[in-house]
Symmetry: C2
Subunit: 332 residues, 2 copies
């Protein structure tokens, strides 16, 4: 591992001049800059991360707090394109992305505090926003740059990137109504999180417009595994008045529901209609007629990094808020 000192020694220059030359400092003679860069290139000099971080306070690291809904089960395929989008964008922006996994046992606030105290990151990507999320105030107060994947219902302005879950659920419900459905079941993910609240809101708006009262028993919470989705939908199918429409939370919810349906020899398209949100295009490869909202989650990942990057560069600038719309494909 080479350092500035070695380059300086080789050229009989001071460490200072070498340091400046490598960042094209105007005080350094152009010819010297060229010589320094030539040697740096030749010996494969790469700045030492920790020396830089210690001196400047900039760590060139972003941390994504990654919540796992369960310890063992697959919980949302969305995470795959999200991670791919984030890691690739972070790398291209010159940051390394550290992933801090949390289980349901972990306190979300404590996870953030830990990152704050450790001081080993320039910025945080937080997800799974809840109503009145206390992490926002905490991070703003401490001046730690961050971006949230998801909005919340605070007065405070803060940077976020979100999916328009309200619109997606509204449109999904409307599409099901267009098919003639009136008893429409809705899958929600983690109870209490903002994404689910928005879905519920969009669903409620569509139902209200159509004058259909909401039947709470049609709303499924905690549908973040194929198993839970299948069991929930299976119970409903046994009712005397089963739902005729279903809005799934995501690909896994869809797979679970299709599984329950298939076991009874049913398929979506005639008696029952299904729509879902999809971030992997996986639903398009299933042998079933389903309406799909595609959302560009890799794009969300890239945007999160981009917003966080500008936030780190200018922590007191205006906050960016970005909303990704879903694109509906009726799947006929």
């Amino acid at each position: 591992m080479t350092n500035l000192k070695q380059i300086a020694a080789e050229l009989s220059l001071s460490v200072t001049t070498v340091s400046r030359a490598l960042k094209d400092g105007p005080e350094v003679h152009p010819a010297t800059i060229a010589r320094v860069k030539e040697v740096a290139q030749r010996v494969g000099y790469v700045p030492n991360h920790h020396g830089f971080a210690l001196k400047t306070g900039r760590t060139l690291t972003m941390t994504a707090i990654y919540p796992m809904e369960t310890k063992d089960h697959l919980s949302d395929l969305l995470k795959l394109p999200l991670i791919e989008g984030m890691t690739l964008a972070a790398r291209q922006a010159g940051y390394s992305l550290s992933i801090y996994s949390t289980t349901p046992d972990d306190d979300p606030i404590e996870s953030v505090q830990r990152q704050l105290q450790a001081g080993s990151t320039d910025g945080l990507i937080i997800t799974r926003m809840v109503s009145g999320d206390p992490r926002v105030k905490l991070l703003l107060d401490r001046g730690m740059p961050f971006v949230a994947f998801g909005r919340t219902d605070l007065d405070t302005a803060y940077p976020y990137v979100d999916i328009d879950n309200e619109q997606i659920a509204y449109e999904a419900t409307r599409r099901l109504m267009d098919k003639g459905c009136r008893r429409i079941a809705l899958q929600l993910l983690v109870p209490g999180d903002q994404a689910s609240a928005m879905r519920l809101s969009g669903y409620g708006r569509a139902m209200a417009e159509a004058g259909i009262p909401i039947d709470q028993s049609l709303i499924g919470h905690g549908m973040f595994t194929m198993e839970s989705s299948a069991a929930w939908f299976d119970r409903m199918l046994a009712w005397s008045d089963p739902p005729t429409g279903l809005a799934c939370a995501n690909e896994l919810g869809l797979l679970g529901a299709l599984h329950a349906l298939g076991r009874r020899g049913l398929a979506p398209g005639s008696d029952i209609h299904i729509v879902t949100r999809d971030s992997t295009r996986l639903s398009r490869f299933l042998p079933a007629k389903i309406g799909v909202h595609f959302v560009d989650i890799a794009g969300v990942g890239r945007k999160l990094v981009e917003v966080l990057e500008s936030r780190i560069a200018n922590p007191i600038g205006p906050v960016a808020t970005v909303l990704f719309k879903g694109e509906f494909d009726p799947g006929e």
Copy 2:
């Protein structure tokens, strides 16, 4: 952000003593240790990562090099449990895990060299091993601790965790033969990688045992998206003598194949039989009779971290090599 100096000032001790006290140094008076720890606790002291790293050379960071087969498409669901297993285990071991994404444009060797030169990681997790993989020698020569996800055909001993792809493909092929299949198609992932070579080897062994000559046109390379798998299988189904058995590379390959089958009104179970490897249990929720090899990929991720951790702790110790077997479920 508090540091040792502040704690030292508060207790009128030297920084040295505080540093030692926090790691229970035997030279420090027990009562002093208690006082120091009490203050550290109260002010929320967390050691500064970069100061520590600069001084000791230990970064407490592991880096996983994460290859993306394509820039845009979902390429293997295996990555999700792998990342979850790795990140969680790394965190529990006191390391942070950095993910370095690479695209097909990136040179794998250069990616490793970059990590070596940057010196900002204690150890590397490399994947997608190829025949005679030059990264192994490079890392061994430079003394950088690492662990590979996958074996390769080198004489050199090096630590790895792998899935027994040879056995899985062998057993998959045998199972298909038990169903009466003789024309058996095989899906392989990245051309040239070792996992695919092992699959091919296991397939070849089973075919040889059964005395069936290998038809190269039944072997599909580059089947790492649902799209490519569907297109490939669709072409085969149009033949006058289509395959009667198919061994899929993974869940996505399976989805693609089922899609192609479904469009022709066919389903696995009678004319054609399908087996696949699965790391998400997703195939069990599909409305199709397929044999499945389950592999505990989250366990692989945890094991990778565990092996790397012991490698970092003792870089010249014996190399651990771990093989994960698949568990077959005929899916009747």
